[in-house]
Amino acid sequence: MKRALLTVLEIGLLLPVCASIPIHAFIVCDADGSPAVATETVRDHISNLNLVFSQVVMDFELVRLAMITNENWLSISSSNSAQHQALCATAHGTGGIELYYVEEIDDCVAFKTPSGLVVSRDANGLSVAHEVGHLCGLTDIYDDHEGTTLRVTGRSSRNRMPNDYGRPDFSIPHAKRLERLLMYGYQNSSKLAITGGDIYGLGRSVRRNEESGNYELVWDLYNVEVGFWEHGTRTPSCD
């Protein structure tokens, strides 16, 4: 009963804020006008995005789909910030998310810049959704990473996902559960879930270095900030 009431209250609180988030998409074309990706690819990515984010009552709408003819932007080098800054300066302050579709990026399939997402032909709807997860304030979560000897072992349990409702299957290894999360740090085809609460896993947490006094990112096993109620925002931002 209490849980049902809570859900009704939550939906009531959400209704006023669930207006669509506008998406402005730009496709880079070469000198002959041949586009880096087909317009259907963009639409397909947006419908994937809507599918994933419907879990947290968020909705995206493609409000602009424009072509940019500039063959210098077909191939993007993520280390050449002058290049992607110029590309992402195409649209400003749209109040939504700007997606820039290019033919290829040298070392990844999609990445976020301070003024939009750069998405390559190799990206799929899930890679775009993962990046949008970051724009909504969520963090990457891992079961293991070569950069540390820490790793997630053992079964899933209530205290490893303390603020999630429902009765999840606790008999599975916890690492398996992490593989289904949208913010899982490795690419796979099963990462869809956005949880309400944070989830125990391997992540980079901010620590103060006692000697230097500076704050740094260190690997740690803790309740990683992937929970939408705890750390998400409905106004995604590139900063």
């Binding site: 990844c108 990457d140 950069g147």
Partner: protein
């Protein structure tokens, strides 16, 4: 064969087999580790993982470049090839060039080989010579045009980068020489 000799031969054979088994097993371990790391969503994350793994496993930069090159060419994985640019020395330029000219391979993979070539060479004389040779040897059916190579240089270096200016100068001098 005396009994003693036979035992010695047998032990030697077994040791050899064991060494082969151990070597192929550890190679499989490395290959699967690289495959997993190559699935990391973010490039920076992948580089961090790879460097930690390389250092822990005791591979030199040169050895690691060789491992990445083999995996990349077997799997046609342009991202693993790209990762190699951090470790490769000019010893690798010839095999990278072979990929750039290999019309049987996918264009994006050949472009990645060109990027690694240019990075390892530091956008030097050999890179401009490669672009010039590609222009001369261009086959109309080849998906990878010399223009694409030029655009790669543009993509990698900002307009005010001295390496880009000297690259363009060298290309202009070459072109002037060929027109004479």
């Amino acid at each position: 064969m005396s009994k003693k000799v036979r035992v010695v031969v047998m032990v030697a054979v077994l040791c050899g087999l064991h060494a082969v088994a151990e070597e192929s097993c550890s190679r499989d371990v490395v290959v699967s580790a690289v495959e997993r790391m190559s699935r990391l969503e973010h490039a920076q994350d992948r580089l961090e993982a790879m460097e930690a793994y390389r250092v822990r496993s005791g591979f030199s930069a040169e050895e690691w470049a060789g491992i990445l090159f083999d995996i990349a060419t077997n799997r046609n994985d342009r991202f693993v090839l790209q990762d190699m640019s951090r470790y490769a020395s000019t010893n690798r330029l010839e095999s990278l060039e072979a990929i750039v000219f290999d019309a049987e391979r996918e264009r994006s993979f050949r472009l990645a080989a060109f990027r690694v070539y240019a990075l390892v060479d530091g956008f030097g004389e050999r890179t401009s010579s490669l672009v010039a040779r590609k222009s001369r040897a261009q086959n109309p059916d080849d998906q990878l045009s010399p223009r694409k190579l030029w655009l790669q240089i543009n993509a990698m270096l900002p307009t005010n980068d001295v390496r880009r200016m000297s690259f363009e100068n060298r290309m202009n001098i070459r072109q002037a020489g060929e027109n004479d």
